[in-house]
């Protein structure tokens, strides 16, 4: 018998979904049951993540645990090295938690192609394709959060783009092609810039067969501040595009508006966190001097993101674009907390990544339910939906309140900690960031007002209806499947809001060690 620690949990969680995806796609009879099969696989991965978490040593949460190391391309110093500290574990759990939710949400989301709406085979193929892509993405997400080798991380970082590219480009809305290409161009540009930096790192570690292991790269350019700064910059740009920060955010609203709600959930809820995750896990330990040097500027950019994202969210008519811009604002808070350099702000940023994941998932999915019914993402085509679909309205408001950081829901504690921790070192930026609190109330409540309140009349599907005809009364409220998948998300939102202590315990020592890097540099 082996103990919990001996089993290569992370490797299994990477391999199982990827292999399952390939099998589902290649073994044609399986395509018919792709959806339940995919759900089972994702639940197995979630189960594995939970079991693994129970074996995690909280007392050493700042240490990398569940490590698996194997030599890979020794000539380049590249190894297969996976493992997680408290933050990595939290992110893996988030990814594993959201994938089954998304698969259930997308149960009926994937439709037959427009060219052959009645083609049952094509429908099955598309459904199987969707499930396979999501499973591949799951494996890559686990890999990217667990990678302890810089090159391995880079590969996962780039490889993730392709399933997302196809998820947007094949299953999205009318402008999906343009949106998916925009996404790819932005991401590849970031990746390419990072590659330049990566090559410089290669030259530095030349000859060491394990040179690219993150543990061996700590402060790799200690003796050369100029090189350090430029390499730092290449990585930072890639992560800022991913995060996304103003002004390299413009791909996100388009992608979120065109992708299916499930894809948007994974994209914004998990994938974008790779940017902020890497800022903590890679930028700070590898380039401590440059990070400290750039921190004041980055904090300004973060505050700009908070306010700019909030104002843009207020100005949107498209519900999905609105949610995307709220995330730009929220990512501003996360980045602000990372570079403030205090433990309070850092732990705030870390739990923010989780909280934002579940909140934004709820928002995207519920908005998706609405759009499925009303066939429009334009808020102006709705009115009085609270009277028509009260449960949908209530759940949207609930998720929205979490997004506007109402105490008791998941959004509050992270934002609070980031604000307290940032003010400690930079009062002006802390106070400026507080404006985000009013903006968030505005964008959420304005959206609620436009869609859910007012008289039950108006337009559906962009076609003018005869005055006063209560068309939308016929729109159905949430069905059992939709309610059921919101239950775990809702519970997570309440849990993170009311009793975040266990999660904070998991993250505190990690936050301490990373915040200390910036503090002492």
């Amino acid at each position: 018998m082996f103990g919990l620690d001996d089993f290569p949990w992370l490797t299994a969680m990477i391999a199982v979904p990827v292999v399952a995806a390939v099998v589902i796609w290649l073994v044609k009879p399986l395509r018919r049951i792709a959806r339940p099969l995919g759900l089972v696989v994702s639940l197995v991965v979630l189960g594995a993540a939970v079991v693994m978490a129970t074996g995690f040593d909280l007392g050493a949460a700042d240490q990398v645990q569940f490590s698996t190391t194997a030599s890979w391309i020794a000539a380049l110093g590249v190894s297969y090295d996976v493992g997680v500290n408290g933050l990595g574990l939290a992110m893996v759990l988030l990814a594993a938690f959201l994938v089954p939710v998304v698969l259930v949400a997308a149960w009926r989301e994937v439709r037959a192609p427009e060219s052959a709406p009645d083609d049952a085979v094509a429908l099955v193929n598309r459904q199987a394709g969707f499930v396979a892509l999501v499973l591949i993405l799951l494996g890559l997400m686990v890999l990217v959060f667990a990678a302890r080798d810089l090159f391995l991380f880079y590969l996962a970082f780039e490889a993730m783009l392709f399933p997302v590219y196809f998820l947007i480009g094949i299953f999205g809305g009318p402008q999906r092609r343009a949106a998916s290409i925009k996404f790819l161009i932005y991401s590849l540009t970031g990746g390419l810039i990072m590659l330049a930096g990566l090559i410089v790192v290669f030259t530095q570690t030349w000859g060491d067969p394990q040179g690219m292991r993150l543990d061996n790269l700590t402060d790799v350019f200690a003796g050369n501040p100029t090189t350090q700064f430029w390499v730092f910059l290449t990585f930072f740009i890639a992560f800022a595009i991913k995060a996304p920060m103003v002004p390299v955010h413009t791909w996100l609203p388009d992608a979120a508006a065109q992708a299916t709600p499930g894809t948007s959930t994974l994209l914004v809820g998990v994938l974008d966190k790779v940017g902020t995750f890497a800022m903590i896990g890679i930028l700070l330990p590898l380039f401590p001097g440059a990070s400290a040097q750039a921190a004041p500027v980055i904090m300004v950019l973060a505050v700009i993101s908070i306010i700019y994202g909030g104002l843009l969210a207020i100005g949107q008519n498209d519900l999905m674009r609105m949610i995307a811009f709220t995330s730009v604002s929220h990512f501003g808070f996360i980045v602000l907390g990372i570079f403030a350099g205090t433990q309070t702000a850092m732990v705030g940023s870390m739990i923010y990544m989780l909280a934002h994941g579940v909140t934004t998932a709820a928002l995207f999915l519920i908005a998706g339910f609405l759009i499925q019914r009303g066939h429009s993402a334009d808020m102006r085509s709705y009115s009085g939906m609270q009277r028509v679909t009260p449960v949908l309205a209530g759940t949207f408001l609930f998720a929205g309140l979490s997004a506007l950081a109402l105490p008791g829901l998941s959004g509050f504690v992270p934002e609070y900690l980031v604000l307290l921790g940032s003010y400690e070192v930079h009062p002006a930026w802390g106070v400026a960031a507080v404006i985000g609190v009013v903006l968030s109330a505005l964008y959420i409540l304005m959206a609620y007002q436009r869609v859910f309140t007012g008289p039950v009349t108006g337009q559906v599907e962009g076609v003018a209806e005869p005055e006063g005809l209560p068309v939308r009364r016929t729109l159905p409220d949430l069905v059992v499947r939709e309610k059921a998948l919101l239950v775990p998300v809702g519970l997570a939102i309440v849990f993170l809001g009311v009793y975040p202590a266990p999660v904070l315990d998991l993250l505190s020592s990690v936050a301490d060690s990373f915040a200390a890097i910036l503090g002492s540099a």
Partner: protein, 635 residues
């Protein structure tokens, strides 16, 4: 086991009930209102038991902290979810649960015809739970939880009939303006954490002595901002009038008796900070004095019975804020007035709701008149509330308001004359607008049956309302009559509070008898003017154009206009410009950079047709080339 250790049930019971009613939905429609009522009544009983227990111990042992669980633990920053049960918080808890229970009972009748009555009770329970967290929490963080929670409940209840767009707008407006105040609360906590390393009451207040006065002044001022938002004080007053869109029991409970007084609670609770920051304290007094006159002037012009009462609430809270700004000389008086006001103003609002029921939900007092003949209970209970708010001895308001006027006249220099004068003048104007309201509604000629006033809908046939509505009105009226006297003369209520608030005897610059006489003269004068205009003479059905001041008062002294000009319109222009530039400039610039960097000199059209694949391929090839190069040079 001490009952005080069960104080968490005060919060848990209404919260559980609210959750249950919301989750069960229509399934609980039949009994939801009774569960809601019970979930307010049980905490009321519990609060009374805790009070009794507290009275059994000596002054020094009356403050008890009840630890529930660790809420936020982030390294050296900890916020415990804990309750502080002391004379101040138990006073509030009693006010909230007792008045709350009466209003729940009233709502059973008031909302009987509403298909969403169950949801209404869920929100009311949510409010009670949040408000109790606000007053019972033992740190600024917990206070903030309740603070935002009552804001949410207020939003939900103002917008309860949000199928009307203007009601939905009113709800949003209230929440946003409160959020502006909440920024103050957050900045205050940020500054506290930076200065004291904690947001816990005990730690913060103990650390105040020896802290830089400038820091404390800033903290005091941002706390005041928060208080202004929640308590509708100038300059964040503009939401309260619109908040009358909510069902009338909501106006009574949230927008008169309890939530809007949270700002007063905050200032009194943070007394240690304000006392060490005299500049901030002075601003508090100024805000209170300005608002008490502002609300009173607005109140004289309103024909909408609820908006007139709302203006009155604003003005009365102005009195409390003024008293709270005076320091230990005023704290206990502020809370005393808060309690008596909670009773008589809730009673007045319930009376107004009962009148609205009789008038097919009309609120225009110009179409009321002579209702004393058809609604005896409403009339008598309302009249008692009216006498109480006027401050006629021996009714409740007399005791509490008189003390505030005395305290306002205390001190040295110009301040007692200005602030005392404002408080005195306010008493006169209060008598004017409240008597106007009372006479227009219950006296004079009946104007509700005039044919011209019959809109669509059934003919008006005013009758007294049912027992669920009259019983709470009667109990609150009894409070309007006797509560002031009992608390002042019967039981040592002020002394009970002073173990928390400290004390200092007022030393007015004018003798006490003279102040009382002056107040009474002004009150009688105000009432007489109103009597002549609105009881003796006929009230015109259309409001006369009025003087410039009347028109300004009708427009809420242009509060909305100022906000719209200074904040809303510039904000809209900024947002629109940014939305336009985001697509044009930011996106365009990034596109431009992208085109330059990657030899993407081709047209965007080509870029969108398969270029990405080439690009990706190029990247893969690039990686391979680099790897080969690296490997080659290694040899």
């Amino acid at each position: 086991m001490d009952t005080v250790n069960l104080a968490w049930l005060l919060v848990a019971i209404p919260l559980a009930s609210a959750t249950l009613l919301l989750l069960l939905g229509r399934a609980s429609d039949r009994w939801g209102h009774w569960l809601g009522l019970l979930s307010s009544a049980v905490p009321a009983v519990l609060a009374i038991v805790i009070l009794a227990e507290m009275l059994g111990v000596s002054d020094g042992e009356r403050s008890v902290r009840v630890h529930m669980f660790d809420w936020i633990t982030a390294g050296d920053f900890t916020v415990r979810a804990g309750l502080l049960v002391d004379p101040l918080s138990i006073t509030f808890a009693l006010l909230i649960t007792v008045v709350g229970t009466l209003i729940h009972l009233y709502s059973v009748g008031y909302m009987a015809q509403d298909p969403d009555r169950r949801r209404f009770f869920a929100y009311l329970n949510l409010f009670v739970a949040s408000m109790l967290v606000l007053v019972l929490g033992d740190s600024f963080a917990l206070l903030f939880v309740g603070w935002e929670g009552v804001g949410l409940a207020s939003y939900l209840l103002i917008g309860f009939w949000n199928q009307r767009s203007d009601y939905a707008v009113a709800a949003k407006k209230a929440f946003i303006m409160n959020r502006v105040g909440d920024m103050g609360m957050l900045v205050a906590m940020m500054a506290m954490f930076a200065t004291f390393g904690s947001v816990d009451y005990e730690t913060v207040f103990n650390a105040v002595p020896g802290t830089n006065e400038g820091v404390l002044t800033v903290i005091g001022l941002v706390l005041l901002l928060a208080a202004c938002g929640k308590s509708a004080q100038v300059p964040l007053q503009a939401w309260l009038g619109d908040a009358m869109a909510g069902p009338t029991p909501v106006s009574a409970l949230i927008h008169a008796a309890t939530m809007v007084t949270a700002g007063v609670y905050l200032i009194v609770r943070s007394g240690a900070i304000f006392e060490a920051a005299p500049a901030a304290q002075l601003v508090v007094v100024i805000v209170g004095a300005v608002t008490l006159l502002f609300g009173a002037i607005v109140g004289t012009s309103k024909d909408d019975i609820k908006k007139a009462l709302a203006a009155s609430t604003m003005s009365q809270i102005g009195y409390m804020v003024l008293a709270a700004g005076l320091g230990p000389v005023g704290y206990a008086f502020a809370i005393f007035h808060l309690v008596t006001h909670g009773f008589f103003k809730a009673g007045l609002f319930l009376g107004a709701g009962s009148v609205m029921h009789a008038m097919n939900d009309d609120v225009n007092m110009r179409q009321f008149g002579a209702l004393r003949t058809v609604m005896k209970v409403t009339w008598v209970t309302f009249a008692l509330g009216w006498l109480a708010i006027l401050g006629v001895p021996p009714f409740s308001g007399f005791w509490s308001k008189d003390l505030i006027i005395e305290a306002a006249f205390s001190g040295t220099g110009w301040q007692p004359w200005v602030f005392g004068g404002a408080a005195l003048l306010g008493a006169g104007i209060t008598a004017l607008y409240m008597s106007r309201l009372y006479f227009m509604t219950f006296h004079g000629k009946a104007r509700w049956h005039l044919p011209a006033q019959q809109g669509p809908g059934p003919e008006r046939d005013p009758k007294e309302v049912g027992w669920t509505m009259t019983v709470p009105m009667i109990i609150l009226a009894a409070g309007s009559v006797a509560l002031g006297l009992v608390l002042y003369q019967g039981v040592p209520f002020l002394g009970f509070l002073e173990s928390v608030t400290g004390t200092e005897a007022p030393d007015p610059v004018l003798p006490r008898w003279l102040l009382i006489t002056l107040t009474m003269v002004l009150v009688v004068l105000g009432a007489l003017i109103a009597f002549r205009e609105f009881a003796v003479r006929d009230v015109p059905l259309e409001a006369p154009r009025g003087s410039a001041l009347t028109r300004a008062a009708r427009a809420d002294l242009y509060g909305d206009t100022i906000n719209e000009t200074l904040v809303m319109r510039p904000g809209q222009v900024l947002t629109r410009t940014l939305v336009a530039t985001d697509r044009g400039a930011v996106d365009g610039a990034v596109h431009g950079v992208a085109r330059m960097t990657g030899a993407l000199g081709q047209s965007l059209r080509k870029l969108q047709s398969g270029y990405a694949r080439n690009y990706a391929a190029t990247m893969v090839i690039g990686v391979i080339v680099v790897l080969v190069l690296v490997l080659a040079t290694r040899v």
